[in-house]
Subunit: 69 residues, 6 copies
């Protein structure tokens, strides 16, 4: 399987909270991960992003797609 | 700082590839992370997601927002 | 009307399931569609995407915007 | 393979346009599809969405994830 | 026209920067706007969001869909 | 704080509607804003977007990330 996405993180389901239409699922990440972000070059320059910089990677839960093989 | 997002992962910039309008930045995740996903309850049920299940969490790089403090 | 999006698919509402805050709506696609994806060039190369290849196009329901004229 | 997404559309690659960081890929949809959208209940009510209504489903190309098996 | 989205902001194009595959367009907002966000109830509670609170609304440019009538 | 996003809009919480898993929050924008969109160059050309053009910027509420400092 090959995914058209830069981030594919191995994880294990920790909890499932079912709502009427949407559900919230939590996971433990099981292997050290690298991640990737695409943003405007303008943002990269304004932030002054350089190798070694510490950042926080913020991702809304709605953008995380679980795949079960 | 409080973010309206379930995922906030500490990371360090590894590389920056600048394009004309968009750039691709890669990161090393510096601490073991838990992650969260919101999906339809219908998807949770069709996938049969239960605690302990192994999954792959797929996230397009465009949805990853770096924040530098 | 012109939309800044590559995908605009004609469809007919099949069902509506209303929740407290979010709702899930299903549609029958009424005309054969072509679709487009934007992804990193790195992903295209790792996947080895070439004309003729069979793929599955996965789209979270949250990213589908219905417009009623 | 089970995906945490309501839309999984069979398609065939038609063209690939590679850019420096991002690429645009076009597809022919190979089977008639049904699609699903999640939106706020407030939007559903303001739009007055009912079974049988004709709509346009607008999806930015960046939200389409190709998967190659 | 009715859109399945809570945010529809009137604006005027200020500049267009065309890249090989993606372009960056800037706008002046022409009318005072209200905006809406959907997030997990868990996030709302952890943030302690209450009427009157000052916040910053962060939106990646990729999630903004221009429509020209 | 520097965000890897082109849009950061100052706003004040107007109302909070909590659901079982997801909540809908509304805001008054407190300062006139400029906004930015990234879309395919192909879309820019088909729309014929030029400085001065009037547009509607449509953003699903799910893509709006509130940050509280």
């Amino acid at each position: 399987m090959k995914y058209g996405a830069r981030n594919a993180i191995s994880a294990k389901v920790k909890s499932v909270k079912k709502g009427d239409v949407m559900s919230l699922v939590k996971f433990d990440v099981t292997s050290p991960a690298t991640m990737a972000s695409v943003l405007t070059t303008e943002s990269v320059e304004e932030m002054g992003l350089n190798p070694g910089d510490k950042v926080l990677l913020v991702v809304k839960a709605i953008h995380v797609l679980p795949v079960k093989e």
